[in-house]
């Protein structure tokens, strides 16, 4: 195909997106669009699967049956979300094996938030309330993204995500209205999860390399800084209801802007964690790689069994 032909196709393509038409897997698309979507969707999927680990940690120690059942259901949902996203990603011409290889080798990233440890039961509250809260802010706009399978997956995910945040907030609320020890545990969890949750919305606009192209393709409708501000503005009143203090001495409501001014984010910490030096990076990777390697015999046995069943059926038919 000549450069001119490609340019023409690209113009038609961009016009379709501008008209809010959905791009489907078999449609012509620029190679860059395909690669960017594979990158973003796969990293989103990896995040869901790795995200099961910090919360899975507390299933066996949930304080009541209600809490255990809810947490189990949430973690199951995360597995499901990973599946929706892997499925959507695979429509772009990449196999699940390849996607796992990218994750296990470190070639593909996952959300840095999951490299932090969950050290108390209150962390389950903080994670549901803050981490899922930030995720929802990222995910709702994606329901209108240009790539059809991604948008449809996001609609499903968003429907399920709201229980996740409520579950977390309910845990925090119970603790904050309990004993002093429980209240302190909740405050401690907030202290540890607040700043990493802000970092979840991504680097500042100036440092974000993918933003411009992503906006054109409706992969992103608002900038990282705008989403971060939205998260802060909606969460601070929720902390007030809990009677907890956000660990930011510079946090202050600005009458003029109608928003909260907030303190400096420690971006060094963010980049360190992204580069693999967070508290749990190695642990998370080890868990995922082990699960894949130790599960190999199960996958092979299932296929051998399926093949035997098929052969038996054929033999009986003859």
């Amino acid at each position: 195909m000549s450069n001119e032909q490609i340019k023409n196709l690209e113009e038609i393509f961009e016009a379709r997106i501008a008209r809010d038409e959905k791009i489907e897997p078999k449609d012509w698309m620029p190679e860059k669009y395909r690669k960017t979507h594979i990158r973003q969707m796969s990293q989103h999927a990896h995040s869901e699967i790795v995200g099961m680990l910090p919360e899975g940690n507390w299933i066996s120690r949930a304080p009541s049956l209600r809490r255990k059942a809810a947490l189990l259901a949430k973690v199951q949902d995360e597995a499901g979300h990973g599946l929706y996203l892997y499925s959507a990603c695979e429509t772009l011409g990449i196999s699940r094996n390849e996607l796992y290889e990218q994750l296990h080798s470190g070639k593909a990233k996952y959300s840095s938030i999951f490299n932090y440890p969950t050290v108390t039961w209150a962390d389950m509250g903080a994670v549901g309330w803050l981490v899922d809260g930030a995720a929802i802010i990222n995910q709702v706009p994606l329901c209108n993204t240009s790539f059809g399978p991604y948008a449809r997956a996001m609609v499903r995910v968003c429907k399920e995500e709201s229980f996740h945040q409520r579950q977390g907030f309910e845990i925090m609320h119970k603790l904050c209205n309990g004993s002093q020890e429980q209240k302190d545990m909740a405050q401690d969890a907030l202290n540890r999860w607040w700043w990493p949750s802000l970092m979840m919305l991504g680097p500042t606009d100036a440092e974000s390399i993918h933003t411009e192209q992503s906006m054109k393709w409706k992969l992103k409708r608002k900038s990282n800084d705008d989403l971060r501000q939205q998260f802060i503005d909606q969460t601070v009143p929720q902390a007030d209801i809990l009677g907890l203090t956000i660990p930011d001495p510079d946090l202050k409501f600005n009458e003029e802007t109608g928003s909260y001014d907030f303190g400096e984010i420690n971006w060094d910490e963010f980049w360190q964690v992204v580069k693999g030096h967070g508290p749990c990076n190695k642990q998370r990777m080890k868990a995922r790689v082990s699960a894949w390697e130790n599960g190999e015999w199960v996958r092979d046995a299932a296929m051998a069994h399926a093949d035997k069943k098929e052969a038996r059926k054929l033999k009986e038919a003859i």
Binding site: E24, K26, D27, W28, A73, Q76, D77, A79, G80, L83, Y84, S87, A88, E90, S95, R96, N97, A153, E160, R299, D300, A302, M303, H305, A306, D307, K309, E310
Partner: protein, 94 residues
């Protein structure tokens, strides 16, 4: 004999639904596992009363690049639509 699990497309009909709709895909070693996995991942909130699983390799899709020619026959047949027909205003139930 491939050790990789094949990919299956999942279609679910909801309680109030008239037809099966495409919900997504999953990997499974055979049709029975595909059904059970589909039940586990796509109907956790009672979304469906019926599940179809189809090996992705068995799905044939039209090529969107040929949409123009493929769907052309219907374009100039407006008389297939009820609005094409003129009726006096007084006519009821039609």
């Amino acid at each position: 004999m491939s050790k990789n699990w094949p990919l299956w497309e999942i279609f679910v009909r909801s309680k109030n639904g008239l037809e099966h709709r495409h919900f997504g895909s999953l990997h499974a070693s055979d049709a029975e596992m595909a059904l059970e996995n589909a039940r586990d991942v796509y109907t956790r909130r009672s979304e469906g009363v019926s599940i179809w699983v189809v090996k992705s390799s068995n799905v044939t899709a039209s090529n969107p690049e040929h949409n123009g020619e493929l769907f052309e026959p219907a374009q100039d047949k407006v008389y297939r639509h009820p609005t094409f027909y003129d009726l006096p205003d007084e006519v009821k139930h039609m």
